[in-house]
Amino acid sequence: MLKFQDISIKRKLTAIIMIASTVALLLVSAGFVTYELVTFRQTMAQDISTLAEIIGNQSSAALSFGDKDTAREILGALSAKKHIVAAALYDKDGHLMSVYPGNGQIGFMPRPTRNQAPHFQDDALVISHDIYTKGEFTGTVCLKSDLLEQHERFVRYAVMISTFMVVSWFATLILSSLLQRVISRPIFHLAETASSVTAGKDYSVRATKDGNDELGQLVDRFNEMIGQVQQRDAALQQAHDELEVRVSQRTEDLQKEIIGHQRTELALKQHFAWISLLNQITHAISERQDTDSVLHVVLRQLEDHMGLDLGAVGVFDARGGTLNVSALRVKNFLMADKLELREGSVLRLAETGFEPCEKGQTVYCRDTFKASMAFEEKLALAGWRSVVAVPLMVDEKLFGVLIAARLQADGFSSGDSEFLRMLSEQVALSAHQARLHKELESAYHDLRRSQATILQQERLKALGQMASGIAHDVNNALSPVVGFSDLILRGGFGLNEKGEKYLQYIRTAGGDIAHIVARLREFYRTRDDEEPLQQVSLNALAEQVVDMTRPRWRDMPQSNGITIEVQTEFMADAPPLLGIESEIREALTNLVLNAVDAMPDGGRIGLRTRVDHDRKNLKHPKHVVVAICDSGIGMSEETRKRCLEPFFSTKGKRGTGLGLAMVYGVMERHEGSIEIESAPGKGTTFFLRFPVRKKPSSADAEDASDAEVKPLSILCIDDEPLMRELLKEMLERDGHQVELSDGGHSGLDEFRLANERQQPFDVVITDLGMPYLDGKQVAKAIKLESPGTPVVMLTGWGAFMKEDGDAPAQVDSILSKPPRFKELREVLSRF
């Protein structure tokens, strides 16, 4: 749709005039019509009022006398008035007297309000007029007039106005289209001129002007503007020419700048290459954990990427002021030979001229020919003309020096040395860390080893405690059996030979039980101080074991078609060691039998002895070692770790799991150690390492059984009646005077009573585990009252109390159950 703004100015002007005049005409017409209508209505109302009055007056008598005929007659006269459509007469009481038209509908039912002024209702004019005769109300007349007259007038006006409008519209159209030219022509002229200027770019064209009105002024301004544009065009052209000159100048400058940038870029690229190399090296280093490999990686990377002819790292030793060359990389090894430089060689820092490195400075020797230092001279002779030494600093201390050399003089740019410097920090850090890592690792391994040892000891201890608990009970129960058997066997009971033989069996069996119990705790028990140590030759023992076990490793397998070979290799001058022969023998036997078990398809067993000497004093033997190796199935790591644990066995029902535990116990008691080397399928080797000790110069104790015993007065306290009886029998047999007491309290009472009687006991023997007051408390009380009286404690725990250092201070001697004659005698003989 065409917008009003886009219509030609010619049309616009015409349209404006047309619209304005049409609106004016419409307004005038509307005003006129409105006025006419209002006036007409007033006239109508007046007319109808007059008519009503006349009718009322005429009909007053007819109403008074109720004469409907006359009333009808009077109303009938209204037929002359064609606009009156209805009329009615009412008497004073409101009764309808007459209506008009007589035949038609009644226009007024019910009677309208009395005396209403003319008013318009429903396309009609209605009046209701009261009639008075001599001042008395006589009735009402009502009239209704249609508005057809009014409508006729309307139509007449409409036709008239329309005609008038059309005519005046045409007149306006003609006039306006003529008059608008006065304004539109100059504007068109101006527009044409402007477009010719724009199209032809000819700024010399001017518009002509018609008059001095606003349009004339517009033409003047337009012409002025074109003039200015003309001037500016010229100036612009000039500026353009100047600009071109300037642009060409600037282009030249730019080209120069570009060359500069290219140089910078090259330098940057070089830099970037260094950084990426640095990154690469750092990355490579980070995967290494030991110093040497770190240094080697660095040197290889340097040779590959920087083209070094020689690269070396010397680790600084501050004490000697030396550099220990720990990594070296040379392109030409002949040259290196000439320099006499290899890994491991030591350079004195003072001779190299690298002392500034100690303060963290880089040393660069441009030309080795001109240097005065020994090392540089050597380099020069070997063929390296330039050398850089970069310090590797850790915590501001010299860790080492990185030495880089090239064949040509002045072979390092400042960038090269800068890069080496950056690299050195990284290398120093990594090398240092690698060293720390190594230290940490070894510390960690030590820790692991000791932890494992402790763990094993703890386990064994726990087990030993359990075993000793069992042993205590068994020993307590066994005491009467062995004790009374002993008593009877001493004679005097008149047993016949057969009875004595049977009793002997019982005694032996009891002894065996005690022995079994003792074995149960064998692996735990440390060496008994009282146990006699003997001079033992390990070679002889090993030989014995080989002989003893022959049935197991040769005869039995042979019957199954399996061959096991035993090789021995003994060091001839192995020193004898101090120990318990039977235990060591048992341990060796155990190991040999294990070896046999480990070789179900046959193989070789090796027994070797050797001597480990002290490192400082090579003449003094420190350890004697016996190694038992087999070519059997071997052990997994897990098995190897746990094989010494009691009850750990891989043999299923055949194994008790106590063999190796016993071996361990033996070695512990001999202050030796066990080492095991094994891997699945590769056999197992046990190393038993015994310390070499001198035999203590103690005279053998005399046989206690033969000792003279003087009669003593002894108080025995024990809550078990059988035990009391046994003790009494045993002691009285030796001529002692024995008093018995069945508990801690009664024992103390007895003791005090004896003191009061001035017949104190010479010795008190008490049980340890008693209800209410135990042995320790009893011993304490007795020592408090009579410090000189010896107290002997008798207990199933005896052996362990001694070992644990658990023996109460108040106790003079401890005896384990079951008590033996021999032991009892020996103890009593001391007092």
Partner: protein, 205 residues
């Protein structure tokens, strides 16, 4: 009202004072309305209006209406507010009562209407309208003669009244009461009968 209030208070002694007051007002208003209604009803319902009007009642009303459409000369009245006197000659008690009732309290152009019982012609000369009963039929000429020179509108209900020189005579036509007018006689007596009234009159046969 006091009694009612007392009963109310008696049944609901705890009733708040405000409600009591409202109740009192409402009761008073209702009583007043009922009273007014009774008065209005009695006013509208006149005993005479119930039945259809009797012949004499209509005739009495006609007499009154004639007064509206007849102009008397000025000398017929002493003052502008002097009453219009309507007299009855002859013996007709029923009509007299009806007429008296009809014109009672009526006023036309500031003139009250007055009833007069005339015993003789002489007494009737100062009436403005005179109804001559049918009983005086025989004496018509004599009566009319006696009234000559006075401004009296004579009205009767007998056959030869007009011929005898009477002015208005009631006749029964088609069961309706109509009247004849002798305008000549009226003019002679100085009375001006409105053309509107004349229009209603029936002409003598």
């Amino acid at each position: 009202m006091e009694g009612l209030l007392a009963v109310q208070s008696g049944t609901k002694p705890a009733m708040p004072g405000k409600i009591k007051l409202v109740f009192k007002k409402t009761a008073a208003m209702a009583a007043r309305f009922i009273l007014c209604g009774l008065i209005l009803l009695s006013g509208f319902r006149g005993p005479a209006q119930d039945a259809a009007p009797t012949e004499y009642q209509i005739k009495a009303a006609f007499l009154y209406n004639f007064a509206k459409f007849v102009e008397w000369p000025a000398e017929a009245f002493a003052t502008p507010t002097s009453p219009i006197v309507i007299g009855v000659l002859g013996n007709n008690v029923v009509f007299e009562n009806d007429l008296r009732q009809t014109i009672n309290q009526k006023v036309l152009n500031n003139r009250p209407l007055q009833f007069k019982k005339c015993d003789s012609v002489m007494a009737a000369t100062n009436c403005h309208i005179l109804f001559i009963s049918a009983s005086e039929k025989a004496g018509f000429p004599k009566i009319l003669e006696g009234l000559r020179g006075s401004n009296v509108l004579t009205v009767s209900e007998t056959g030869q009244f007009i011929e005898a020189g009477g002015m208005i005579n009631f006749v029964l036509e088609e069961n309706k009461i109509r009247f004849q007018i002798n305008d000549e006689a009226a003019k002679k007596a100085g009375l001006k009968i409105s053309s509107k009234l004349l229009r209603l009159a029936i002409h003598p046969p």
